[in-house]
């Protein structure tokens, strides 16, 4: 139940062993796994960062579609543990130019969690050409870029000046992209009209989209959506996660050391009813 990862040979991995594994090239499987493990276990030693930065340059571990699986894992791990190392953000930004869609997607997500606004401009560059260029990649099951990840990162890292760049994506043909745009617009403008678009998705026919909207509303902590979240047709587990996001956003506004605000208590009442 504790979810402690094991080595493929069944023995629990240690930090020392993971560092050995990621610094060797004879067994690509062990190296790939170690990259994931270092992020999962939040191993912050400089040696781990060194090794992961090196793994971003890897040219040997290739998937049948030409992708770079090791780089994908390494860029995810760096998003989790790279906060305090100045080398990480530039290296992850560089990954936005990788020809592997998934490396670019993970890079956008990692840049969002690393939280450095210096990534805003390189992320915007991927939106060059606007919605017209944001089409299906030829022969692939996805668009040219992961626009969701890019828009979400811009929403977190950017400011109001990006509104003209992001707003056109509110009309994209793919619902997930529209939602990501609405989420980002709400984050950068604070205008309720954008978060209300996500509230509307809570009553969509497709469960997948309702779930995604729950996660989005939780991520931005939109208080006015609390009742709608509680009433959505979806698993209580998902609704609880969304309401936790709303509550924790509200708590940052409550005065520390004082009694909880009426809004915080209202959200907790909803959460209690879903247990």
């Amino acid at each position: 139940m504790s979810g402690i990862p094991h080595n493929p040979d069944g023995k629990p991995l240690t930090v020392d062993q993971a560092l050995i594994n990621i610094n060797q090239t004879a067994d690509p499987g062990l190296r790939y796994y170690a990259a994931w493990w270092l992020g999962r276990m939040r191993t912050c030693q400089p040696e781990a960062i060194d090794a992961l930065l090196l793994a971003l340059e890897d040219k040997t571990n290739r998937s049948p579609d030409g992708g770079y699986p090791l780089r994908r894992n390494a860029v995810i791990a760096l998003g989790k543990i790279g906060q305090d190392d100045d080398r990480v953000v530039p290296a992850v930004i560089h990954c936005l130019q990788c020809d592997d869609y998934y490396v670019r997607e993970k890079a956008a997500q990692s840049l969002e969690s690393l939280g450095d606004p210096v990534a805003v401009y390189p992320l915007i560059e991927l939106l060059d050409g606007g919605v017209d260029k944001a089409v299906q990649a030829p022969g692939k099951p996805h668009l040219i870029h992961s626009y969701n990840a890019i828009l979400e990162a811009l929403g977190t890292l950017g400011d109001k000046k990006l509104a003209n760049t992001i707003a056109p994506f509110l009309a994209h043909t793919v619902p997930q992209v529209r939602n990501a745009a609405a989420r980002a617009m709400y984050q950068i403008t604070g205008e309720a009209q954008y978060a209300d678009r996500l509230v509307d998705v809570l009553s969509h026919d497709q469960l997948q989209l309702r779930r995604a909207a729950l996660m989005d509303l939780g991520a931005v902590g939109y208080l006015a959506s609390a009742d709608a979240i509680a009433n959505t047709l979806a698993e209580n587990s998902m609704k609880l996660i969304a309401l936790k996001g709303v509550l924790e956003h509200q708590l940052t506004k409550d005065e520390k050391g004082n009694a909880l605000s009426a809004d915080s208590r209202r959200v907790m009442t909803l959460m209690d009813s879903l247990l």
Binding site: E235, K244, E248, L260, M268, M271, L275
Partner: protein
């Protein structure tokens, strides 16, 4: 609404005839809404259908029916597969009958699924204590308290949150609240999740207020 309520026979037939997941969900919701004791057995059967939407509706229906559903649930429990047991435990947690306590104690502490631990933890604080003989009541409350204090250390935030809700309900029924208040103070200060800290703070506020 009253006028459109379907009869038991119509609802039961619809459950048996359902040929899609959505159709089953709709039929189970209608059946559950009747709050008819004749629906107990068919609702229990739905728990084993591996259809989460319908199972949620069936659990809700069984909770609404309440006490009369407890014996049938307990009697069929051993024959259940894992998934159906998990749903049955959620129903028992919602009903709060003391006969379900032993199962809830075990589920809150040990179940593999976090949604079952979560429901069981909440349920342990919401047992109908007055239905337990006075001579046995303190012991039963003590058992809930011991497990809930342990569950405040669960690795999942939502289970710790549910344990706090359970402890709050329990504390409001107890004279000696020292252990619970001590645990809530610790959680308020030290839990790694802000939402859990806040729930502990609110529980303390409510317990203080009630004094």
């Amino acid at each position: 609404m009253e006028a459109t309520l379907k009869t038991f026979d119509v609802c039961l037939k619809a459950v048996n005839d359902a040929d899609s997941a959505q159709g089953l969900l709709d039929a189970v919701e209608d059946l559950a809404e009747l709050k008819d004791e004749r629906a107990i057995d068919p609702l229990i059967q739905v728990l084993g259908f591996n259809n989460p939407g319908a199972a949620v509706a069936a659990v809700e229906g069984l909770i609404q029916i309440g006490i009369p559903a407890v014996s049938p649930i307990l009697e069929t429990l051993d024959g259940y597969n894992y998934g159906a047991r998990a749903w049955a435990i959620r129903a028992l947690a919602g009903i709060g009958d003391p006969r379900g306590q032993r199962l809830l104690l075990n589920a809150a502490a040990n179940d593999f699924s976090l949604s079952v631990r979560r429901a069981a933890a909440r349920g342990l604080g919401a047992i109908r204590w007055h239905e337990i003989q006075e001579t046995e009541r303190d012991g039963a409350m003590e058992r809930s308290q011991t497990i809930l204090l342990q569950v405040t250390q669960d690795e999942e935030w939502v289970v710790r949150y549910a344990a706090i809700v359970g402890l709050e309900a329990l504390a409001l029924k107890l004279n000696d609240r020292e252990k619970i208040c001590h645990s809530l103070c610790q959680l308020k200060e030290k839990d790694p999740t802000a939402a859990v800290q806040a729930r502990a703070q609110w529980a303390l506020e409510k317990i203080e207020h009630e004094r």
